[in-house]
């Protein structure tokens, strides 16, 4: 198991394994985080990938005072804000973001905790019981309505609803500690 300190050391010295580990650890959450700013997952992924290239280029002058994760989040956020301001369809794009955020300055909104919660949920889904997991994914990931799910799996709508409730119950239990901390911050954000 590699420690955070070793990881940072590896990054500063240009060790490929360190970059690979950091990338695989944080790519998902950083990309989904970036997507909250730029709205396009491909652009988001590109931003994160560019960051890792630059990380290597500037490794000699890197100063990571907080955790690596916090540093990466901050860097991604900065790049997203740059992207937004440089976007060719600037006016339209900014307007869109402002409307969706109901007027709050986009750079003041903090999506880090929200994204981390989303990642935790994603990781928890795979631990749900099989039928329960399948139904929850069909609903939340594939975007199917309960009626469609019932038809496809040849079960009653009641069963579908029960299974989704069960999933929520399990997720709530698993994330209990995390939720308590996040709720306070979440309430500050706009509910989309």
């Amino acid at each position: 198991m590699i420690t955070e300190t070793q990881l940072v050391e590896g990054i500063k010295s240009g060790d490929e394994k360190a970059y690979e580990t950091a990338f695989k650890l944080y790519y998902g959450v950083l990309s989904v985080f970036a997507k909250k700013y730029v709205y396009d997952i491909e652009v988001a992924k590109e931003i994160v990938q560019d960051l890792f290239v630059r990380l290597f280029e500037n490794r000699n002058s890197l100063e990571i005072n907080t955790s690596l994760k916090a540093y990466l989040f901050q860097s991604v956020k900065n790049r997203c804000l740059t992207y937004i301001t440089q976007n060719q369809n600037r006016e339209k794009h900014l307007q869109q973001i402002l409307i969706l955020n109901q007027g709050e300055a986009v750079d003041k909104i903090d999506y880090v905790e929200q994204t981390e919660l989303e990642e935790k949920i994603f990781n928890s889904i795979s631990k749900l019981p099989e039928q329960c997991q399948r139904i929850f994914r069909m609903n939340r990931i594939e975007g199917k309505r309960n009626k469609e799910i019932a038809e496809e799996l040849n079960i009653s709508i009641r069963t579908v609803e029960t299974q989704i409730s069960k999933a929520l119950k399990i997720l709530r239990e698993n994330l209990e500690n995390y939720l308590l901390i996040v709720i306070l911050l979440y309430l500050k954000m706009m509910f989309l």
């Binding site: 240009g14 490929e16 970059y19 690979e20 990338f23 695989k24 790519y27 998902g28 990309s31 989904v32 997507k35 997952i41 491909e42 652009v43 992924k45 590109e46 990938q49 890792f52 290239v53 290597f56 060719q88 929200q114 994204t115 919660l117 989303e118 990642e119 949920i121 994603f122 889904i125 929850f136 994914r137 939340r140 990931i141 594939e142 975007g143 199917k144 469609e148 038809e151 496809e152 609803e161 029960t162 989704i164 409730s165 069960k166 929520l168 119950k169 997720l171 709530r172 994330l175 939720l179 996040v182 709720i183 979440y186 309430l187 509910f191 989309l192």
Partner: protein, 335 residues
């Protein structure tokens, strides 16, 4: 409602969040929420998880292993020489040695490139991907080409000195940077020139399309070398009937064949059908034109046509029949 919600109440809460309840039912739920601190907390937890799970799809579609493989090529790990200008003096003989791919634009030179007639079997190499096949080819300079079904390329044996590829069909290129020798892909009517980048060229009877994934590319018509389009990453240029057009937005399903994912976001059925036809190389006819306005949202990983038909069909209340070589879609259409 009790203090501790059983599963019935959780469903009520979800339907409340989805705004599916009647006014009366809404009031019942709200009363329950505010009746105790516990209930409020429970509600907020459910709300939070429900809301946060809308991002699941995004996480699902991220493949860190794959993207790392593509990315590490661009990072010069273990290179002793820092300056990228010394690139050209080194022999690129193995796939593992790559230089940083720069976003440097190559201004079209357009001189001295070779046409079809100059290729003869003694000095050139031809690589073919058959119908339904995909083939990966490594070029002598370390670049790689992924040929899509029913496509072929041809290049000279002295490729390192003269990096020209003739393409028929569709291929995805990952090009190694070499400032002394520009990399060019020639199709029947166009030339795509690049220094170091990854891009897709799709050529068929009617048009040639170049989709840029990373880096920068110059794309021009072979009959008129002054008319050129400069592409940036994420952009696409199309050459059709003698005209060059630049398209900004790229349909994510354009390169679906490379990663085996088809994604539809509130897409009109006409678009879905188009993407399915291109991906599976089939012909789909729609009986009722009203169906084309139906919208569909969904993501298919490692898509299988019959599964997709079932799922899309159920969602849009349409049926699919196979008539000879074609598929026929019929239904009432959407509200």
């Amino acid at each position: 409602m009790q203090e501790n919600p059983n599963h019935i109440e959780q469903e009520l809460v979800i339907r409340y969040l989805l705004k599916e309840l009647s006014l009366k039912e809404n009031l019942i739920v709200e009363k329950w929420i505010h009746s105790s601190v516990e209930n409020k907390k429970t509600f907020e937890e459910i709300q939070e998880i429900w809301q946060a799970s809308s991002a699941l799809k995004d996480f699902e579609n991220i493949n860190a292993d794959l993207d790392w493989k593509k990315l590490k090529v661009k990072i010069p790990f273990g290179e002793k020489i820092e300056a990228s200008d010394k690139v050209s003096s080194r022999e690129i003989s193995l796939w593992g040695y790559f230089y940083k791919i720069a976003a440097v634009l190559v201004v079209a030179i357009g001189l001295g490139w070779l046409g079809y007639q100059q290729f003869n079997s003694n000095s050139s190499i031809v690589e073919v991907a058959g119908l339904g096949e995909e083939k990966e080819v490594k070029l002598p300079d370390g670049s790689s080409v992924l040929l899509n079904s029913n496509s072929q390329i041809a290049y000279y044996k002295n490729f390192k000195d003269n990096r020209i590829i003739e393409l028929e069909g569709e291929a995805f290129f990952q090009v190694v940077k070499n400032t002394k020798s520009p990399f060019r892909v020639k199709t029947k009517n166009t030339i795509t020139e690049v220094l170091g980048t990854s891009f897709n060229v799709n050529e068929n009877e009617e048009q040639t399309k170049v989709t840029l994934v990373t880096g920068k590319v110059a794309f021009y018509s072979s009959s008129n070398k002054d008319e050129k389009i400069l592409l940036e990453k994420g952009e696409q240029a199309v050459f059709t009937k003698g005209k060059l057009l630049k398209q900004q937005k790229v349909n994510i399903n354009e390169l679906a064949w490379k990663e085996n994912v088809l994604e539809f976001k509130d897409a009109e059925l006409s678009e879905v059908i188009n993407d399915l036809e291109n991906y599976f190389k089939v012909e789909i006819e729609v009986k009722n034109p009203e169906l084309l306005n139906c919208k569909y949202t969904g993501t298919f990983k490692d898509p299988e046509l019959d599964k997709i038909f079932t799922i899309v069909g159920t969602t849009l209340e349409a049926t699919i029949e196979k008539k000879g070589e074609k598929f026929l879609l019929s239904g009432e259409g959407c509200r």
